[in-house]
C-alpha cells in the first residue's frame, strides 16, 4: 500500500501542468483579463479618450488660456474659424471652445462621484441582502423595488425643486446635489446585481470550507464573496459612469441639474437651443464632446465585460 501510494504520488507530481518552466508568474483571472484587454483596440481608444477628458477636467488650462466666463457680447454668435475662437462664440459671446473644455470638469465630477456612491451603497446593501438572506433580504429587496418604481427624471425634478440652487450656491454644492440625486436613484440597480451575484457565489464549496474552518462572516465576505462577486458590478458601473454623465446633461438641460454660472455641457446645450436653426455650431460642439465622453465609458465597460467573461474567450 505505502509503496503504491508513493509511486502514485510521484507520478502525479511529475505530471504537473507543462507550464513549470515558461511561467512561474501566477495567472489570476484579473491578469488573464488584462492580457485580453491589451489586445483590444476598442479598449485603447476608450482609454485615450477618457484620459483626455480627465485631463480636461483636472487642468483645463493645458487646452485653453481663455476665461470661459469672459463674455464679448459684440462678437456673440460668431461662427467657428481657424484663426478666431475655434468653435465660435455663443449667444452671450462666450468662447465655445473654452466653455466646452471647462465643461468637462462638471461631467467627470458628476460621473465619477455618482458612480462611486452608487457602487458603495449598492454593493454594501446587495452583499448584506444576498449573504444574510431572510428578512434582511426581504427589506432590502422591497426597498430597491420602491426606488426602482420612481422614474429618475421625476425624482430629480422633485429633489431639485425642493432644494433649488441660486447664483451664490458654491460650485461643489451644485455638483453635489446632482450626485446625490443620481446616487439615490442609481443604487438599486447595483444592489440587485450585487445581490444576485452574491447568491451565485455563496453556495460554492470554498465558502462552505471557510465556514467549516471557523471564519467569521466578515472574513468570508471580504476574502471570498466580494472578490468573486465584484466583476459584473464593476462592468455595469463603468457603463453607468457614461450614463450618469448623460443624465447630468439631461438634468442641466431641463434647468434642474447644474445651473449657470456653473459651466457644463448640459447647460451649454440648453443655452444653444435658442439658435438651433441659425447657429447650430453652438449646439454641435458640447453635444459632440458629451457623446464622445459617454461613448468612451460605455466602450470601456463593454471591453472590460468581454475580458472578464471567460465564455467570450
Amino acid at each position: 500500500m505505502t509503496e503504491a501510494s508513493t509511486i502514485a504520488v510521484s507520478a502525479e507530481t511529475g505530471a504537473a501542468p507543462g507550464g513549470d518552466v515558461q511561467q512561474d508568474k501566477p495567472r489570476s483571472l484579473a491578469s488573464d483579463a488584462w492580457r485580453q484587454l491589451k489586445k483590444n483596440p476598442i479598449f485603447w481608444v476608450s482609454v485615450i479618450l477618457i484620459a483626455l477628458f480627465v485631463l480636461m477636467a483636472v487642468v483645463p488650462q493645458l487646452f485653453t488660456s481663455t476665461d470661459p466666463n469672459e463674455a464679448i457680447l459684440q462678437q456673440a454668435r460668431e461662427r467657428p474659424s481657424l484663426d478666431g475662437p475655434w468653435f465660435g462664440r455663443d449667444i452671450q459671446g462666450y468662447d465655445i471652445y473654452a466653455r466646452t473644455i471647462h465643461g468637462a470638469r462638471a461631467s467627470i465630477l458628476v460621473g465619477v462621484f455618482a458612480t462611486l456612491s452608487t457602487l458603495i451603497i449598492g454593493t454594501a446593501l446587495g452583499i448584506i441582502a444576498g449573504f444574510y438572506g431572510g428578512w434582511i433580504d426581504a427589506i432590502v429587496s422591497r426597498l430597491t423595488d420602491i426606488f426602482f418604481a420612481i422614474p429618475l427624471l421625476l425624482g430629480g425634478i422633485l429633489f431639485m425643486s425642493v432644494m433649488p440652487n441660486d447664483q451664490n450656491t458654491p460650485y461643489l454644492v451644485v455638483v453635489g446635489k446632482v450626485v446625490v440625486v443620481l446616487a439615490i436613484f442609481g443604487w438599486p440597480g447595483i444592489a440587485r446585481l450585487m445581490r444576485s451575484s452574491v447568491l451565485q457565489v455563496k453556495p460554492n464549496d470554498y465558502v462552505q470550507a471557510a465556514r467549516a474552518l471557523g471564519a467569521s462572516p466578515w472574513r468570508i465576505i471580504r476574502s471570498h464573496v466580494l472578490p468573486n462577486a465584484m466583476a459584473p458590478v464593476i462592468v455595469v458601473s463603468t457603463i453607468n459612469l457614461g450614463v450618469y454623465i448623460a443624465v447630468e446633461a439631461t438634468l442641466s438641460f431641463l434647468g434642474i441639474g447644474l445651473t449657470p454660472p456653473a459651466v457644463s455641457w448640459g447647460v451649454a446645450i440648453s443655452d444653444a437651443l435658442v439658435g438651433i436653426r441659425t447657429t447650430p455650431h453652438m449646439l454641435l460642439f458640447p453635444s459632440l464632446f458629451l457623446s464622445l465622453a459617454v461613448l468612451a465609458f460605455i466602450m470601456l465597460g463593454d471591453a472590460i465585460r468581454d475580458a472578464f467573461d471567460p465564455k467570450s474567450r
Binding site: A11, A209, A210, L213, G214
Partner: protein
C-alpha cells in the same frame, strides 16, 4: 477496542417546504431522519447510499454547517450543538471536511498558499506568523504536490491535484476527524486510486478518523473499516466492512451490492442482479413503517406499520446491526477481491443450513 471520538445520536434534519402565497410551511423534506452511529479513533467509517438519501446532509450536520432539527453529536466528550462563539471555533479545528467537487471547493482568486494558509489566518495560534509559509509548503509536500507551486492558482492544477489541495487545507489544523464528502467521485478512476491511497497514507501518519461518504461501493470497501448503508435518511445497515459486503442482511444492501459489476466473467452468469421496483420515494413523504417496504420483495404487513430498529440481527456467522424485520443473509457473489479473508469466510457461509435460497428471493424481483 478504541474509544469513540464522535458519537451521533438520533440526528434529524428536516427542511421545511414553503408553499402558497403566504410562504407557509406545507411539509418537510426529511433529509436525515434519526441517524445514530459512533466513529472510533483512527477508524474509517464509510457511508454509502444512492443520490438523495441524505449522505451529504449528514456530513454537513456533523460539520455543523447546518443546524439539526434534533439529535446530538458528541465530539471528544463535548456536545457540539451547544457550543457557541470561541468554543465552537476551537472545536472546528478538530473536525474538518474535504468536499466533492475540487473545481468549486477552491477559491479561484487565491493562490494555493493563501488557500492552504487560510486555516492559520483564522486560528493564528496554531502556527506563528513567520512559520506559515514553511507550514504550507510542508503540507503541499505531505499531499504529494510540489512545494514550489505555492504561488499558483487553482486553475493551473488538474482535478486530482486540486483535490490534494483540498485535503491539505483539511488537514492543516491537524484535525482529529476528517469528513470526506464524496472526495473522489468527481475524479476519474486512476486519479481516484491515487487520492484514496493518499488518504490512507495520511491516516497512518496523522492518526486521523475518517467519515467517508460515497456512492461508489468498491471505493468505500477499499478504504473503510466499517460501513453504514443509508436509505431515505435512515441507516439501513451498519457493520464491519466484511459484514456488509460479505453477509448483508438488509434487502436494500443486498440489492445495492448485486448491482456492482463483477470483474470475473466466469462468475458473471451465476450472479443474480436484484432489480428494485419503482423509484426512491420522495423524502418529503416517506413510506410508513420501514422506509424500504414499497420496493422490498420481502415486505409484509408488519413492514408497513412498524419501523424496524437498527439493532443486532444474526447474519449467518455472527450478528451486526440491521434495520429489517426479516433480516437474513443471502448469497452475494464477491464483487471485489480485496483480500483473502473473504474467500475463507465464504466457504464457511456456504455450509450454513439457514442459508436462504436465491430462488425464493427471485420471486419478488425482476431479472435484468
Amino acid at each position: 477496542m478504541a474509544e469513540p471520538i464522535l458519537t451521533a445520536t438520533d440526528l434529524v434534519k428536516h427542511y421545511p417546504i414553503k408553499g402558497g402565497v403566504l410562504r407557509r410551511t406545507v411539509g418537510h423534506v426529511k433529509a436525515v431522519d434519526g441517524v445514530s452511529f459512533e466513529l472510533l479513533k483512527g477508524e474509517t467509517l464509510g457511508i454509502v447510499g444512492e443520490s438523495g438519501c441524505g449522505k451529504s446532509t449528514l456530513g454537513r450536520l456533523l460539520m455543523r454547517l447546518e443546524e439539526p432539527t434534533s439529535g446530538s453529536v458528541v465530539f471528544d466528550g463535548i456536545d457540539m450543538y451547544s457550543q457557541r462563539g470561541r468554543a465552537m471555533r476551537k472545536l472546528r479545528r478538530d473536525i474538518q471536511i474535504v468536499f466533492q467537487d475540487p473545481y468549486t471547493s477552491l477559491n479561484p482568486r487565491k493562490t494555493v498558499g493563501d488557500i492552504i494558509g487560510e486555516p492559520f489566518d483564522i486560528h493564528p495560534d496554531v502556527v506563528p506568523k513567520n512559520g506559515r509559509r514553511k507550514a504550507v509548503q510542508d503540507l503541499l509536500d505531505m499531499v504529494g504536490l510540489n512545494p514550489e507551486h505555492i504561488n499558483r492558482y487553482p486553475h493551473q492544477f488538474s482535478g486530482g491535484q486540486r483535490q490534494r489541495i483540498g485535503i491539505a487545507r483539511g488537514i492543516a489544523l491537524n484535525p482529529k476527524v476528517l469528513i470526506c464528502d464524496e472526495p473522489v467521485s468527481a475524479l476519474d478512476v486512476s486519479v481516484q486510486a491515487q487520492v484514496v491511497n493518499l488518504m490512507e497514507k495520511l491516516q497512518d501518519e496523522l492518526g486521523l478518523s475518517y467519515i467517508f461518504i460515497a456512492h461508489d461501493l468498491s471505493v468505500v470497501r477499499h478504504i473503510s473499516d466499517r460501513v453504514g448503508v443509508m436509505y431515505l435518511g435512515k441507516m439501513a445497515e451498519l457493520g464491519e466492512e466484511d459484514e456488509i459486503y460479505g453477509r448483508p442482511t438488509h434487502p436494500y444492501t443486498q440489492a445495492l451490492l448485486s448491482a456492482v459489476p463483477v470483474p470475473d466473467p466466469t462468475l458473471r452468469d451465476k450472479k443474480e442482479q436484484i432489480v428494485l421496483k419503482g423509484d426512491v420515494p420522495s423524502p418529503a413523504n416517506p413510506p410508513s413503517g420501514c422506509r424500504f417496504h414499497t420496493r422490498c420483495w420481502k415486505a409484509q404487513d408488519k413492514c408497513k406499520t412498524d419501523v424496524p430498529l437498527l439493532e443486532l440481527r444474526p447474519d449467518g456467522v455472527g450478528e451486526h446491526p440491521s434495520a429489517c424485520h426479516f433480516a437474513s443473509p443471502r448469497e452475494v457473489i464477491e464483487t471485489v477481491d480485496v483480500s483473502d479473508q473473504e474467500v475463507v469466510f465464504k466457504a464457511e457461509v456456504r455450509d450454513q443450513a439457514s442459508f436462504e435460497q436465491p430462488q425464493r428471493v427471485g420471486e419478488g424481483t425482476q431479472e435484468s
